[in-house]
Amino acid sequence: MKPTLRSRTLTTAFMFVVAVYVLLPVWWLLVSATKSGGDLFDTPALWFGEINLGTNVGRLMEQDGGVYPRWLINTVIYSVGGAVGATVVSAMAGYALSKYPFRGRGAVFAVIMFAVLIPVPLLGLPLYLLLTQLGLLNTMWGVLLPSMVSPFGVYLARVYADAAVPTDLLEAGRLDGAGELRIFFTVAVRLMAPALVTLFLFQFVAIWNNFFLPMIVLNDEKLWPVTLGLVKWNSLRTGFYRDMVITGAFVSVIPVILAFIGLQRFWKADLAAGSVKV
């Protein structure tokens, strides 16, 4: 059955309207990041005035003793470091749950699935008290280590291991005399690799998105990720900081958007969606 011209036109028009809604804030941010403070008010909001992007970025990098570049570096450390850690830890745990029928496996998995249902920010307060006692308050580890705990990541890794790693292959490796660790790192990881990239991306976004944890853990501005810094500047609400907030938001978001576009083939939500049995 071929769709009629009318249904094609209506569908495309609707999708176009939604696309405009989605892109409007991004477009506004791009245009505004190029404007001087005065132009923000005096020129059309959705079109360029005089292009001052270079000046804005230059000022951004020097503002408050050059703290912005530090925030960017910190963000990369937290998001990339935390996501790599979470991926490795989750992959190992998910693989164990998938391939070893040890006693109590069902119970362990049930606890992990229950943990998925608990909103992590609600652990923020006790975590704060705990980190104080561990001496991790106001340190990078205080953000990194809790970021590596991802019950949902373990669940996904288990699904991936079930789907991508044939048990026969592991048996063959064992008959060849390979140890369990070697089998995991040479056979299983290779087979799970595409899925692990997806897992990494999910964790990266989760940490990049998590404002609550660094807000609770970090006092020292020099350790902040970019989100914390922008929120502080934004709350100052003076004209000068307003320009810095806009340019700062633009500079931090654009690389991530570009990375998304470049890595789009790895955004496979199907494994997450298709195999949830409720």
Binding site: P119, L129, L145, F211
Partner: protein, 312 residues
Amino acid sequence: MATIQLEAEQRRTAPPPRRRGPTGNRAAGIFLAPFAVLFVVFFLVPIAYAVNESFYQVKRSGLGFGTPERVFAGLDNFTAVFADGSFMNGIGRLLLFGLVQVPIMLGLALVLALLLDSASARFKRVFRLTYFLPYAVPGVIAAIVWSFLYTPRISPLADLVPFDFLSDSVVLWSMANIVTWTWVGFNMLVIYAALQSIPTSLYEAAELDGAGGWKTAWYVKVPLVRPSLVLTGVFSIIGTLQLFNEPMVLSRITPAVGKDYTPLMRSLQVALDNNDYGQGTAIALMLAVFAAGLSYLFIRLSAWLTARGVNP
């Protein structure tokens, strides 16, 4: 001597050791250990800590000049949560928010996924990627950008509408818009991925039976992607109950959003500003119980509806 003899006997007669036995268990233990340690320290211990803390209160004797004393308070903190007007107002706001925003967001996500999956759509790849882009923007940055778009004179929108985006009666829906903008594409992608895994032979059968595009979508596709709708529904419920980033950003720029606007904000305010950890953790625990309970109810409800043949 006799036991040694016996062991030797057994060794001779026992079948060759299986790798699956103790070796397998040890390997499983090694693979699970890093996650287990982190999970216990940064997940279970905080919960236990919170549960313990929530049973205590700090009492100051006399006129408040004596040394504060930490006393066991039983369930007092929990009953106090329900007597706390700020908390109850916050819960009311979240329920209203969730009842309106979650169906709108998931409905839009479902429609977009179905359209992307239909034969009528053009430029599918471009549209799919476009809808997904806001997922790259952290909630607080989305809230900051939208807060500019809600500000008169800077915004191209604020002058077009007859109301103030940041006023008392509108600000909750301004927040709902930010959350919808951020998450609709992600939810769409999850549902779309499920649609893609339906074998096309099912559509052909529906077509032979004379079902049009809309009928096929509603009677064939939607029931088949139910698991993905349940998943996105559960995530949305949990996300709503922990609503924090958007109201926190807006609370710094408009008086319409107080520092106790949502229960999670209230929990922080009580614990950190009032130094009442017992009460603050009690609020957080109640929220966690609500979140788990609501998610569970939602899963049961949708299973029950399906069993009775109700869509979706």
